[in-house]
C-alpha cells in the first residue's frame, strides 16, 4: 500500500495495481467506440492501440504495484510507449514518465497537482500542440487547473466528460484529423475521449478507496 495524495486534499492510500486494472477495464469496455471515433477523423486504430498498451500494463501489474508510486508511474509510461504503437504511445507515455520524474523530485506529496501540470506541459511539447487544438490537451489542461484548485476526485469525475466534449466544436490543428480541416469539426476527438475515460476510471477508483 502506497500512501499519497491523489487528486484530493486528504491523503489516500493508492494501490497502483487497482488503478491499472480500472484503466484497462474502461479501455477494454470502450475500445470499439474509440476505434469508431478514430475512424471518423483518423486512422481508426485508437481503441485497439490503447487496449494493447493497457493489456501490457495489466500484465506487469504485480511488479508495478510493488514499486514506489513515482517509479511505478514512470515505468508504466515506458510500457505504454513500447506497446501502444501509435502517436498516443509517446503522448500518454510522456505524461506518465514526466509525472514520475516530477514526483520523484518533490518530497511533499501535496505537489501532485504541480507534478501533473509539468507532465501536461511535457505532453504539449511532445505533440507540438496547445489547448484548443482538439487533442487530449483539451482534457488535460483544464484537469490540471482543477487539481491546482484542490478539487476532489468526485468533482473531477463530474466534469471530465464535459471537458472531452468541448473538442466536438473544435477544428483539429494537429495529427491526422488536421488533414480534414473544417470537416474535423463536429467530431469528438478520440484522444480526448480516451483521456476522459481513463481519468474517470481513476477518479472512481480513488473515490472508492
Amino acid at each position: 500500500m502506497i500512501a499519497a495524495r491523489q487528486m484530493t486534499r486528504e491523503p489516500v492510500a493508492v494501490r497502483i495495481g487497482d488503478l491499472i486494472e480500472a484503466c484497462r477495464d474502461v479501455i477494454a469496455e470502450h475500445a470499439d467506440h474509440l476505434c469508431h471515433l478514430d475512424r471518423a477523423i483518423g486512422d481508426g486504430d485508437h481503441g485497439t492501440n490503447m487496449l494493447r498498451g493497457f493489456d501490457a500494463l495489466l500484465a506487469e501489474r504485480d511488479r508495478l504495484d510493488s514499486q514506489a508510486l513515482n517509479d511505478a508511474i514512470g515505468e508504466a509510461g515506458t510500457i505504454l510507449v513500447m506497446t501502444i504503437g501509435g502517436a498516443s504511445g509517446p503522448l500518454y507515455g510522456t505524461l506518465l514518465i514526466e509525472m514520475g520524474r516530477q514526483l520523484a523530485a518533490f518530497n511533499n506529496p501535496q505537489d501532485f497537482a504541480y507534478a501533473f501540470g509539468m507532465a501536461v506541459d511535457a505532453v504539449a511539447r511532445r505533440g507540438k500542440s496547445a489547448r484548443g487544438d482538439k487533442t487530449m490537451l483539451d482534457v488535460l489542461y483544464p484537469l490540471s487547473d482543477l487539481l491546482r484548485q484542490g478539487y476532489m476526485a468526485r468533482t473531477v469525475l463530474e466534469r471530465v466528460t464535459g471537458l472531452a466534449e468541448t473538442t466536438v466544436a473544435m477544428r483539429a490543428m494537429r495529427g491526422r484529423a488536421s488533414f480534414l480541416g473544417k470537416r474535423s469539426i463536429g467530431h469528438l476527438d478520440p484522444g480526448a475521449a480516451s483521456c476522459a475515460l481513463l481519468v474517470s476510471a481513476i477518479c472512481r477508483q480513488l473515490d472508492k478507496e
Binding site: 486504430d45 494493447r52 504503437g85 502517436a87 507515455g93 494537429r174 491526422r176
Partner: protein
C-alpha cells in the same frame, strides 16, 4: 573502419513496412552500400503503425559516428522517433537528426549527399530543402 561506417547513416520510419522497405530499396539503388541504412515500419502487433523498440534497433543498425538522419512519415513515426532519440540519450542523441522532409525523396537525396562524405548538418539541410518552410 569501412567507408559505410564513416558516412552519415540513414533510417527510414514509416507506418507501413512496405513503404519503409520500398524507400530503403530506392536508397540502396542510388548509393549501394556506401551509407549505413536501416528501416522499420508497423506497430508492435504487426499492423500499420510505429514501434519505438523497432526504431531504436534501426538507429543502432544504421549507427555511424558521423551521425544518423531519420526520415519519418506521419505523426506517430515522428513522436516515437523522438522518444527513441531520448532513450538513446546524450552524447549520442546529439548525433541523431529527425528530418523535416518527405520520407522517400528526403531519404534518397540525403543518402546521395551522405555517400559523398557530407556532415550530418549538410545531409539534413539538403533533405530539408525539399520541404516548404
Amino acid at each position: 573502419m569501412t567507408t559505410a561506417n564513416m558516412n552519415v547513416g540513414i533510417v527510414i520510419v514509416s507506418h507501413s513496412p512496405l513503404v519503409a522497405r520500398g524507400a530503403a530499396d530506392m536508397v540502396r539503388q542510388m548509393v549501394g552500400d556506401s551509407v549505413p541504412l536501416a528501416w522499420c515500419g508497423g506497430n508492435p502487433a504487426g499492423g500499420l503503425g510505429t514501434d519505438m523498440a523497432a526504431i531504436l534497433r534501426a538507429i543502432e543498425e544504421a549507427w555511424s559516428d558521423a551521425g544518423v538522419a531519420v526520415f519519418v512519415d506521419l505523426g506517430g513515426a515522428e513522436t516515437n522517433s523522438e522518444m527513441a532519440v531520448e532513450t538513446i540519450g546524450a552524447p549520442r542523441s546529439a548525433k541523431i537528426a529527425i528530418c523535416n522532409a518527405p520520407i522517400v525523396e528526403g531519404a534518397v537525396i540525403a543518402a546521395a549527399e551522405a555517400s559523398g562524405g557530407a556532415s550530418l548538418a549538410r545531409v539534413v539541410a539538403t533533405a530539408e530543402e525539399l520541404s516548404p518552410s
